[in-house]
Amino acid sequence: MLKFLKSGLLATAVLAVPVAAHAADVADGEKVFRKCAACHSVGEGAKSRVGPHLNDLFGRQAGTVDGFKYSAAMVAAGESGISWDEQTLTQYLVKPRDFVKGSRMAFAGLRKSADVANVIEYLKTFDEKMASSLGSAEAEMEEAEVETAMADKPALAADMPLPEHDGAFKLGRAATEDEVAAWDMDIRPDGVGLPVGSGTVADGEVLYTDNCAVCHGDFGEAVGRWPVLAGGQDTLTDDRPEKTIGSYWPYLSTVYDYVRRAMPFGNARSLSDDDVYAITAYLLYLNDIVEDEEFELSNENFTDIHLPNEENFIPDDREQEAHYADKSEPCMTDCKPDPVGITMRARVLDVTPDSEEENTGGAID
């Protein structure tokens, strides 16, 4: 039985250096196999677990590993003549339940065809017959490794280059400008980070209606319990304040930053920078901070706009509260008049998830 073909330094070298995709099939397949490893094992001493072991799979009739309890469907598939080869595996792994209707394998399938090809390549390395013909595959692999190794990185630990930076541990590598640009998308109140671009209230209305209104409501008033985005001005001292962009948020930069990074919910990063300017302009409009539908927000005029509640944020001064400022020993006896009374019970406002049970005869009531 062949062991893992690659490990340790070789694998690392291969990972670290971008290599031609085809040379790394087995290594990539090994990664894909992590999705299978919860249920299947391969290699020396592999046993059937949630799924059957996958050694010597090629040419094997479906549903025939001794001692594994297959679904009737899988056994029937095998009896009808299905055995495992590149083609049947490809079909099965893309949509397990379509290929074998009633298969018990609780796995949705692999979406990328490269993943399928790679995992099959990986499974071949645990197949005795394939291995004998694989003399060739193995040789190929070794060749690929040698090629990779020769192309760029030597395989010996002592020869591995260290990154060129001043860090004490010499770990990590320098980030490229493109990489930093791809991830560094935060925007500060002073406008640092704003991309070049613009968008109007009118454009924003269309985008908002299409992408945001299902949850946040046509006017930012929210549907159901999704967050409210507009209104609530002058409610901050009420019993039930409504905290929105217009009534509470200190900075417009947060709106742009947050919408661009996290909205629409479930489809983040799908809007262009101009779209986000337009939507931000529309949110200003919904909050009566701009009133002109022709208003265009851009990186040029962005920091001219101030949200109404900016001045009302203060530093953390909890330590000055009376109960914290007083550091004397706490009272231990007769600290309150006798007897202490109950002023409120949870039952009155009972919102506990399983309170239904309580109300239907629990001893707690």
């Binding site: 990972l15 990664k31 677990r49 930076h165 860090g167 004490a168 541990f169 770990l171 990590g172 590598r173 320098a174 980030a175 991830w183 560094d184 935060d186 500060r188 109140p189 319990r225 999704w226 967050p227 901050l236 905290k243 509470y248 948020w249 900075y251 930069s253 947060t254 947050y258 996290a262 919910f265 479930g266 983040a268 009302n312 944020f313 203060i314 530093p315 509260e321 009376a322 109960h323 914290y324 706490p330 231990m332 006896t333 006798d338 202490v340 109950i342 002023t343 409120m344 019970r345 949870a346 039952r347 406002l349 919102v351 998830p353 399983d354 239904e356 049970e357 309580e358 001893a363 707690i364």
Partner: protein
């Protein structure tokens, strides 16, 4: 209601039913039955199945799970709190746990865009901004830095947030369950920042997650260089996916939201970024309409975990254990007091187990219950001298709209039948 929620709730209801049956009434029934059966308790006098037939072999569970009799010990959510389970919260079942360490599978969850599933081979951590060399680390790189092991509590700033307007939720899982405490293995954040070389103008660090919320928080550089960790293990094993696998930030003693999960980027800057989670959220609105920002520290706090509404006293009067948790973002807990009469008189509780800075502390108060009504409370003091305030003191200082940082003293009303209710007292 989603299917999952329904199941959670059915599970909760079933377990509640079970312990109600085992209440004092149940206990009494057993006792009578026992007395009547002169021959003795059948689980002793008769040979039981588990005493005769073989159990599972060693391979039955490659990853072991709790006993089937503990199936009610689960995280639970309050579906009405949030619009969607993907941006929601569930709660640690504190009333079922003891000691100071929370099992990984029971650590409460709070995420804003669902649990990101990330293959560690595809995970990168970038450091950029005001540094000498912007760097990218793989997980393997991170594992090559010197590591530390530290026990810390993590509390959501909104823990007990539903109780500002008065007693609401009947269960310490729901009133206090947004806290957990595990041992983290990770690399001091300082090492990573120093590897990139922080410029002298660098005063703040922005931490960013790789999830669909791309969660971000600004952290002052003093804290970042002090005790923060970039952790990849909790309680000895890899982080759970819902806790940020493969790597999360640990910001000891400070609010849970800052402990960015699925940590992918650290940016050094000279000003805070005023991200959504430090403006719209995690700012504390006061009665006068002003809002405190940068309220990072979690104040001294404690709660009695048993007895509590989900864990009534089922054994009748006599020897009784009160057990609870205390913690403070300022450091160690110096003392915990327990009151049985709603805060009139206090008794020093016994803190048992390790007393570690910014970790949960376990306390006990062992006493003879005479079977009468009690209003039980706990009050913690930390090594910095802060004393846990009452809820009314907090309301007097802040009003009722703060949402966050409610560390007020909790009162449970223990009734003569052993049932327990969440109440507020005069």
């Amino acid at each position: 209601m989603s299917k999952k929620t329904k199941e959670t709730m059915d599970g909760a209801a079933a377990s509640r039913r079970r312990f109600l049956q085992a209440g004092i009434a149940g206990g009494a029934a057993l006792a009578t039955a026992g007395a009547a059966r002169a021959a003795g308790d059948p689980v002793i006098t008769e040979v039981q199945d588990w005493n005769r037939y073989l159990g599972d072999g060693v391979d039955a569970a490659p990853y072991g799970m709790p006993s089937e009799f503990e199936s009610h010990v689960v995280r639970r959510d309050v579906p009405w709190l949030t619009a969607d389970p993907v941006s929601s919260i569930n709660f640690t079942p504190l009333h079922e746990l003891d000691g100071i360490i929370t099992p990984n599978g029971l650590c409460f969850e709070r995420h804003h865009g669902g649990t990101a599933i990330i293959d560690p081979a595809d995970h990168r951590l970038m450091i950029n901004g005001l540094v000498d060399t912007p760097l990218v680390f793989t997980m393997q790189d991170l594992m090559r830095f010197p590591r530390e092991n530290r026990v810390y509590f993590l509390e959501c700033a909104a823990n007990s947030g539903m109780e500002w307007r008065g007693a609401q939720l009947n269960g310490c899982q729901f009133t206090h369950g947004m806290v957990h405490c595990v041992v983290y293995t990770g690399v001091p954040l300082k090492y990573l920042l120093e590897e990139a070389g922080v410029k002298t103008s660098g005063k703040w660090v922005l931490a960013e997650g790789a999830d669909a919320a791309a969660m971000t928080r600004s952290i002052p550089i003093e804290k970042a260089l002090d005790d923060c960790l970039v952790a990849f293990k909790m309680n000895g094993e890899a982080l759970r996916a819902e806790q940020g696998y493969p790597v999360r930030l640990v910001v000891p003693g400070w609010e849970g939201n800052m402990w960015v999960k699925w940590l992918r980027r650290l940016e050094v800057g000279d000003e805070p970024w005023a991200q959504r989670e430090e403006t719209s959220k995690y700012t504390d609105l006061l009665a006068n309409g002003k809002a405190r920002r940068h309220t990072w520290l979690m104040d001294v706090k404690s709660v009695i975990t048993t007895p509590s509404p989900q864990a009534p006293i089922t054994h009748g009067r006599g020897q009784t254990v009160i057990s609870g948790l205390a913690w403070s973002g300022n450091g160690r807990i110096k003392r915990v007091d327990v009151s049985l009469d709603g805060g009139r008189n206090w008794h020093e509780a016994r803190v048992d187990g390790p007393s570690l800075s910014k970790a949960l502390h376990r306390f006990y108060y062992d006493f003879q219950w005479d079977g009468s009504d009690m209003l039980i409370q706990s009050r913690a003091m930390d090594e910095a001298g802060f004393i846990q305030p009452t809820k009314n003191e907090l309301r007097a200082a802040r009003g009722e709209n703060s949402i966050y940082h409610n560390n007020g003293i909790q009162t449970w009303h223990v009734k003569a039948d052993g049932a327990v209710e969440n109440v507020e007292v005069s």
